[in-house]
Structure formats: structure tokens, C-alpha cells
Amino acid sequence: MQKIRRRSVLAGAAGMLAMPKLGRAQAAKPRLTAISQWSAGSDGAAISALGKKFEERGGIWQHSPVPGFTTEMMNKLRAQILSGDPPACSQLKGPEIAAWSKIAPTVNLDAIVAAAGYEKVVAPDLARLHKPGGKWAALPLQIYRTNTLFVSKRGLDRAKADKLPTTWAEFNTLADKMQASGMKYPISNGGSRADDGQKFEACLAGISPAAYRAAIMNLDAKALKGPEMLAAFVQLRKIANWMDPNTAAQPYAVHLPKLIAGEMGMMIQGGWAQGVLLNAGFKLDDFIIAPGPTDNGKPVFILNADAFIFWQRKEADLQEGQKLMAELVMQPAIQTMYSQITGSIPVRTDVDLSGPGWSDGQREAAKTLKDAVAANQVVLSLAHNMAQENGMTAAMIDVLTEYVKDRTITPEKAVTRLTEAVEGAR
């Protein structure tokens, strides 16, 4: 009697516990906890728009943007992982995806990715970064080209030039011409570390994408001392001499008015600068967007991509939310919406950019990406943490930024220092 009673009580209790859970599982409303770096600009607007779409599909969008730099966001992520409470999804990019996926379990997205037939439409180098250990754990959201050349219309007129430079030699000639026309600083620049790194990567990849791949992406000891590296440092010195040395740590945006006014001529920047220019009230006819100079006649695309990584959670609603988020992120319509807000280009290579929401610059970048993939000339950005883990990246950028700011460092010495920095950070 007692036994039966106990059993029935147990069963009842189990039922009580299970029932609502079952009920919840059936009606689990997708919920997503996400952390990302807080951005005041178009990136923030794009994430908000993505959140709206998530809610339209019946999900609960719990997004906490972290103010500050990327480091602060990673601190937050680390704190949550240490507390056993990782977000369902968080912003993370490049090789850090693989590094972080080692410290906490991530969601295996293979099935969802396969169902969407996504792998076929993503550049292979990019796909690799999001598949640590061969399994999709993260999804790229948008792509930027870091070696985009912005040329000032008025600057071009002032130098009485009509042709855009395609090689470094032409670039140098044009810059000289601009300077001769009375422009004090033909190259518009920012003063941040990433800015300096970006100039270098544009030089090296433009001179030889193969050398870039070997030296920067694979850290090949021989390639790091190769002649292309030296040539890249020589070119970087030329660029540095054309830049305003008074920029200090200011962002590149401080010089945009001068660039548009023709007091400065050209700017090597990521594609995101387009959105910044338009937001600052300048017009698309004020500037021309072109691919960065390349010396081998084929297009080179230095790739930077933002991505979301998905952390394992037990809660049914969060799992549903992750599924929904992954589906959304891969959709052409969502990628179109996202890139049209930020000025980037979609990750999918099969999105049609002929529509009215796209700019010529975006169309050109997307086409260059396709051509560069075909020519095997897509490389990953060092300055934007796509080529190496953060520790290595920072050690290398230390050398590059010192070189840009200090004219007494010779190109030869810079090559040596870079090799030493790589050794020290290994």
C-alpha cells in the first residue's frame, strides 16, 4: 500500500515536473540572448533591424550591446562563460572563433547550414574560419573589403587627373601629382593602430597576394623575410609620408571633410567608410570608390567579415532561438537588408546587387570579391583580426604602427622587427 502510494506520488510528481516542460517544449517561443559590441552608427542600426525581423518571426530578442572596444565585449563574454551562462549567440570574428570555441561548447550548425545549402555560396577561406574542427559553429553576417580606395572628386580635378590608379606605381604618380597641385597631404588617414595595419596589408596584398598569404596568414618564416615584405614596407613609407602626421589617435573620420573638399586626395579604407561619408552628409558624387591598387593585374580582395558564434544552451527556447537566428542570418533577404544599412556586401556570393538599394561601390566590391575568389586572390585582413589570433595580430601591428609613426625605422629594420615580433608571439 505504502509502496504503491509512494510510487504514485513519485509518478505524479514526475508528471508535474515533466508536464509543463513538455508543454513548454511544444510551444517554446524562440528566444535569443545575444551580446555584441555596441556601435552607435549603421552597424547598430543593422543589428536592431535584424532584431525586428527576429521578433516578426515570433521570437524574443534579448540583445545586450556592450559599450567600449572589442576588448570590453570579450571581457563580458568571458565573464558570462566563466559563470556558466554564455549568451545564446555573440559577436566574434576571424580565428578568435576557433580559439574561443575551445573554451566552451558551441552549437553544431552543420545540419542547418546544409539544409540552407549555404556552404556553396560562401568564399572558402571565409567558411574555414567559421568551422573550427570542421563543424560550423559560427555564421558570417557581412563582408567588408579593407583595401578600398576612396578618391576625392575635387582632389582629382585639382590634380588635373582623370584616371584612377590601378597599380602602386600609378597610385604613387597620382599622389605626387596631387601634392604638386598644392595638396599638403594627398593621403587621408586616421591615427589608430588598425588604420596603420590596414595601410600595410593593402600594400603587401597589392604587391603580391601570394606573399601575403604565406607571410601574414601562414606566418611562413621565409616569406616573412621575403622581398615582397621589403617592397611593402617601402610602399608603406611612401604612403606614411603623404599622410597628415598631426592626426594622433583620432579616427579617420576627422579628415573626411578635407578629403571631400579636395584638400586631401585619396584614402585607403574599409568599405564601411561609405556609410560614414553618407551619414556625415556628403553625396555619392563627392567621391569615387575603387579597388585598392594591385600589381599583378588581377583583383585582390582583403576580406573582413563580422560573424556570430552560437554557444550551447540547454533551454529549449534558446535552442529554438538559435535555430531561427541561424536561418535568418543565412537568408539572402536578411543579408541584403543588413548590407544595405551598413554599406558592406553580403556574405552570399549569389545575391543580386543590381537593385536600387545598392551603391556602385558595393556592386564593384561584390564583383571584385567574385573575381578575386576565381583568381584565388582573396586574403584575410590582418588589421581587422581576420588573419591571426588577437595576440599575434597585436604583436604584428605593434611593429607596423611604430613603423608608420617613426621615419627613422628603415624598411629592412621593419622586416627584422616583424619577424622577431612573430617569433615572440608564437
Binding site: 572596444f69 572589442t70 576588448t71 570579450m74 571581457n75 568571458r78 562563460i81 566563466l82 578568435e96 580559439a99 574561443w100 573554451i103 591615427g191 589608430s192 593602430r193 597628415d244 602626421p245 598631426n246 592626426t247 594622433a248 589617435a249 583620432q250 576627422v254 589570433e389 588577437n390 595576440g391 597585436a394 604583436a395 605593434d398 604602427t401 611604430e402 613603423y403 608608420v404 609613426k405 617613426d406 622587427r417 615572440g424
Partner: protein, 294 residues
Amino acid sequence: MKLNLRRLPEYLVIWVPLLLAAGQIVTFALWTTWISFTSATLMPSGDWVGLKNYTNVLATRNWKIAFDNLLIFGFGFVVLTALTGLFLAILLDQRIRGENVLRSIFLYPLALSFVVTGTAWSWLLNPGMGVQKLVNDLGWTGFRFDWLVDRDMAIWTIVIAGIWQSSGFAMALFLAGLRSVEPDLVKAAQIDGAGPFRLYTRVILPSLWPIVIAVMVILIQTAIRTFDLVRALTGGGPGIATQLPALVVYDFMFQRGQLGRGSAAAVLMLLTLAAVLLPYGIWKYVQRRRAANA
């Protein structure tokens, strides 16, 4: 026993906060030291690697530059802030009108976060938009004030902003000191015919000695912890010319994802501090002993 129980609340009140505060400091310091001997990267766990992190950190240019800068910055900031504070205190001590307003003006920078003021300073010190441009636009075109972008001088711009922020505090302390000088002492000196300069250098300033120590302690801890200011003002640049140990520690630990190395840098930084503070502590201890024996 009964007595002890009755005094229990008092023991609790004495010891709980003190043990929490001291315990936190000791465990955190030991924990950091432990991590500094491991291969920890993104997470605080890893294998024992001995002194590898230390040799590695000591070999980086970042650390070398940061360490040199700490000496320059530490010395420049502490001494100049103390002197500025003393100067302001003496000025304010001249029975001037509007002292309340002036004191508030010199103190207010202390109320502000460097996240804010560092940015404003970066504009002011920027040759392209700040003081230099203003003076150039006024007609003195040859005027140069470009320390912010000068590798050798950039660290001094951080000193300047640091003085601006902390000198008010030093001023308050010195002013407090000046006003607690024994009036008899002053009167005696005046009767002896001492002029104002002599009065300050011979009578008043020597009596400020304990305050100088208090000011130094506060300023040294500010110097060691300087972080936000550099991040907002120079970002560690030009190049890596204005790195400071606190930045290197944060950079290694969190930006580069090398907790082991970052911890090693932190321990090195604390050892440097100990090298400065220990002699003072020992001197003080010996002095107290002597006083007790005398």
C-alpha cells in the same frame, strides 16, 4: 567566556570588513602570481610553464617602452603635480577674494572621468585642431605645440593632463597643511624679521613634510593605475610610444588573450611598486621603533 560572547559583535565588526578587504587583496595577488606561471590564454587555466611568461614579456618592446615610460611619467607626474598643487595652495593662501570659486575650479577635474576629459584633451593637444591651430590662426604661424604626435614628447602630454586632473587634490591637501601650521611658529619667525620667501622656505614648508608623504602616496597610486587617460588621449601612440604598464597588462590579458603573460606583466608592475614603497615602509618602521625606544 561570557565576556567574549558579549564582545562578539565588536569582534565581528572589527574583523569581518578588514579580513574581507585584506583577504581579497592577498588572494587576488597570489592568484595573479599563480596564473603568471601558467600557460593560461583566454581562460584562467593552463599548465605550469615556469618563468616563460616573464622572459617573454620582458623581451617585448611594449614592456620595455612601458617600463621606461612609467619611470618618466611616474617621476614627472608625481613631482610636477605635487609642485603645481603646492603652488596653487600657496596662491590660494594669500587671502584672496573668490577663494571658494577658485578652489572649486581647481578641484573639479577630479570629479570627471577620463573617458570624458581624455577625449577633450586629445582635441586640445592635437596640433591640427587644438592649441597649436588656435595660436597659428591668431597669426603666430611659426608656433609649434605638437607633443601629442612627437614620439619622444607624447608621454609628457599625458603628464600635462594628469597634472590637470590631480593637482587640485594635492592643492587641497597642501592648503589644509598650510592652514594647520602653528601660528606661534610663524609669529616667531616674523619677529625674527623673516620675509615671506624665507618664511615659506624655512618655516612653513618644512612643517608640511607629512602632507608631502600623503600626497606622494595618492599620486603614486594614481600614476601606477593610469589607464583611461592614455587610452582616450593617445591610444598608446604614436606607434607604441606612450604605453604604460597598466595598459600593457590589460592589453596582454584581455585584448591579446594571453592571461599568463598579462599576469606576469602585472606581477612585474607590482614588484616595481614594491621596490619604491618598501624602502619607505622600512624607513618608517625603523623611525617608529626609534621613537618608541627613545
